[in-house]
Symmetry: C2
Subunit: 247 residues, 2 copies
Amino acid sequence: MVGGGAANIPDDHPRAASLRTREQMKKAVEDGLVHATGLIAHGRGEAFDYLLGEASPPEAQAAIHEAAFIIRAAHRPALSLNGNVVALAARQCVELAAAWPALRLEVNLFHRTPDRVARLVTVMEGSGAPPGSVLGNDPDARIPGLSSDRARCCAAGIGTADVVVVPLEDGDRCQALKAMGKTVVTVDLNPLSRTAQAADVTIVDELTRVMPRLAAALRHPPARRAAFDNGANLAAVKRRMAQRLGA
Amino acid sequence: MVGGGAANIPDDHPRAASLRTREQMKKAVEDGLVHATGLIAHGRGEAFDYLLGEASPPEAQAAIHEAAFIIRAAHRPALSLNGNVVALAARQCVELAAAWPALRLEVNLFHRTPDRVARLVTVMEGSGAPPGSVLGNDPDARIPGLSSDRARCCAAGIGTADVVVVPLEDGDRCQALKAMGKTVVTVDLNPLSRTAQAADVTIVDELTRVMPRLAAALRHPPARRAAFDNGANLAAVKRRMAQRLGA
């Protein structure tokens, strides 16, 4: 890892705020929370967020409302946490679980190592999660169809969940959860990704802008559940991004 | 830095090739060649390349031809190398300089540290650059308008160049080079970036697909120089990406 930290970003740089978020992600890598390739995933998200004008589209709010109805109706909802999610939104995830206490939190990693799972659980507890409430350290179940360590999960969390919220997730994992018969909600800035396509509800928006609004919708859902078509919602977001490209 | 390397990528993953390139970039960070935030930049490029269908558009070939004419006509052309450029295309950069020996190579970094400059020069020499031919270790000039260490460059390279090729470059630096009166050629997958907008010739394509074709065009340029309008070329690429979004 090479030097040149946040202190080295000139205040007059036109994208100083974005550069500082990047330095925050870099630090999460150094702290062993985020896999280095998680930074690449973050960059992909930045590109699509740029096509949203770095603002939440109305389609995301519609998807958030639908997600809130699904999570509230679930018997065993779970929120899957990876390194990027914890690095960007640990406290917001704790607040989401506070808004809907049935939601189980589980650290579940694409690049799984026991050490990194433990570090992420510790960060979640340091961010306000009740001690012992965050699953992941002792996987005792498997997600069929995934190779090796990627399949490991906890029976008390994702393993027996009927609804799984998987933000910033790999397409394989999303498809494997769907194949288990689970209802999948994702947050993904790329409307073309396999995850976005495979999920039942795809919130195309930036994670830290989504989480407080999802928590609010869980506490106080709209009186009436609007009609929701995930494919049509994705198509509308794609048109919005295309307009930004000047087409 | 956490574990889980290339050996851990399942062969059956639908994006195994892309994941392996990511692991190569991760290793470049571990080796002190690429700044961690360079991985985020790589991810942004991946997203826009996805919108190109991971294939070179005809607009890129037109820009490559124009770039070749400009470089061939230059008195003092220079190629600016940063960590991502060297990690992805060190040997291709050497081959570019072999195709047009007037092209001076200079390591020039946004997150400059003397150690990283030295490592990148060493990689370039290990990739076939003649010893001593790659500038950067002893900066003796400045690019006006950039803060602190970012301004440092070599008089024998970028400092006195009339044409500068700056692939994968920060917008500030591109604009500062333009303000010095230099002609700027860039390779940037984001057609909306400040770099893409500010450059005289913007090749919107993936670096390793561009470099061999630019070398070929330097050796054997088309017989006739076609009319070229960088703004119109960018607009055409943006329309192409917008189509991929289904607009």
